[in-house]
Point group: C2
Chain length 336, copies 2
Amino acid sequence: MTLNRTIKLAARPVGLPKDSDWNLTEEEARDPGPDEVLVKVLYLSLDPAMRGWMADTPSYIPPVGIGETMRAIGVGRVVASNLADLAEGDHVSSLLGVQEYATVAGAALQKVDPSVAPLPVWLSTLGMPGMTAYFGLLDVGRPQEGETVVISGAAGAVGSLVGQIAKIKGARAVGIAGGPEKCSYVTDELGFDACIDYKAGSVADGLAQHCPDKIDVYFDNVGGDILDAALAKLARHARVVICGAISQYNNESGAMVGPANYMSLLVNHASMTGFVFSDYLDRLPEGAADMGKWFAAGEVKTREDVVPGLENFPATLLKLYSGENNGKLVLEVAPE
Amino acid sequence: MTLNRTIKLAARPVGLPKDSDWNLTEEEARDPGPDEVLVKVLYLSLDPAMRGWMADTPSYIPPVGIGETMRAIGVGRVVASNLADLAEGDHVSSLLGVQEYATVAGAALQKVDPSVAPLPVWLSTLGMPGMTAYFGLLDVGRPQEGETVVISGAAGAVGSLVGQIAKIKGARAVGIAGGPEKCSYVTDELGFDACIDYKAGSVADGLAQHCPDKIDVYFDNVGGDILDAALAKLARHARVVICGAISQYNNESGAMVGPANYMSLLVNHASMTGFVFSDYLDRLPEGAADMGKWFAAGEVKTREDVVPGLENFPATLLKLYSGENNGKLVLEVAPE
């Protein structure tokens, strides 16, 4: 018998999730059935999208039910296997959930190789954020050489990769991030051409300064005023990529504020297109091959903000929405 | 000497244009110079876009200056010509302005043939609204056979044509219009599959009823709540065509309200793309050929709401924004 601590959704949050929206319980982990494995969870990915998974509104994926273990992508180690191609000790990635042990069907698992990259990197550059950045920028945004790509949430897990991929493809990358530390990380370490500190001044002024030829691709992770500022500076035939709207997820009214400047799309014959990672499940090998190659060559850098302790999940998640995280936010459930 | 009555912009309107925003003056028409013609204005097109031309905000075309003749597309008859290929008595279309006589460069003129269609039709099906409907639907919206196309402003100059073109291309057409008369015009005379009366009930309910497979193409002329209702019902890979936002043009605050439901683009991997007529100037012959063929064959029907009298321009323009017009709104400046 394996004791499993698990964090369940106790109530649907209004605004920011509170402690009382969660329930930490202990129960026995279910033994793996045929074609299943039991995985010891090591690292969990904490993502802005989690707020949407908690809400009972129509989306691309059903909401987490009240009383269910919170959904999370993670990496872990197989501790018992009923599958021929997975052995005890193998490392895997999947929707493991916010818990210590997960019983998962083999078909839902992706094998990961810790010799290629440390396990947390399999949750960032080589995981969902990496694939989100890759397909969102290259398939939806389609930057051409010499074009200007602007990225909000530029120091975040997805945004930091979007700018680096834009540079690899010969475009200019201008980030938007909060605070001087994040901005110098974005320019000095990640190699963006510029970064606008939205906490220090007007984003519109920053865009005017750093995008003299306006914006060809705007990759939006935040929504709200920053999206409006970018819309006001679109070049003709610009592509706006809607990846997220973290500024809007915790509005207490539950109401999103839409982009007032959307008529800039009309004036500039521009488009605004949304997507989610799972739209590209059939093309993941293509993205994984490029991202793996660039990671190995040092062409994309990555930074993980690893916080230990399953019980710290509720407080750690809030760092995403306050902008306190410093790189891809990862919860360490158990050391390697 | 030819006396010319002309309506000039006296002030930039706040909210709906008022009488005091206009100035009716009399002046001498300028004689045509080399390669110019003098045109007697017969019919003028009154378009929702005019409100934008009066505003001093960045757009696809400079605003009309204070003290300048109001911009308008019209058809007229050549009364004096310094061009070899245009003779007195020929009919032409161009940006003639809200006035009785226009002195225009030959390069800016399009010859029109009154034997093909009555002159007001050259301002609707065979003019800017026709080309706007044609390229907006077919190039931006790209409906496929069997798909569902929803059109707001469905009884208007552009919307009425969009639905008919959608039907010609084998798609379902569902209109949104205000009042039972407009709705029965849309279904009974124009042949749309259904029309939702936004004044009679919930647009969301109407869309749920008439779009069981959701919306593949949404052609938006109105913005505001109706755009949000349509966004909430998008099918996967839907295309939203932004053609106008007439509900928002006269907000006294000057502030547009953006579509709060824009994250439906993300959930459905959908796009929202804007355009204006002038994006397609180089492809007008293609659109004119198809629309002319369909008009001649009776496959697209047209209705013009012709109001006589140059001096009635200010009051007549307001019919567009109150929804009182009944078909393409045309001002008759002089009878044929």
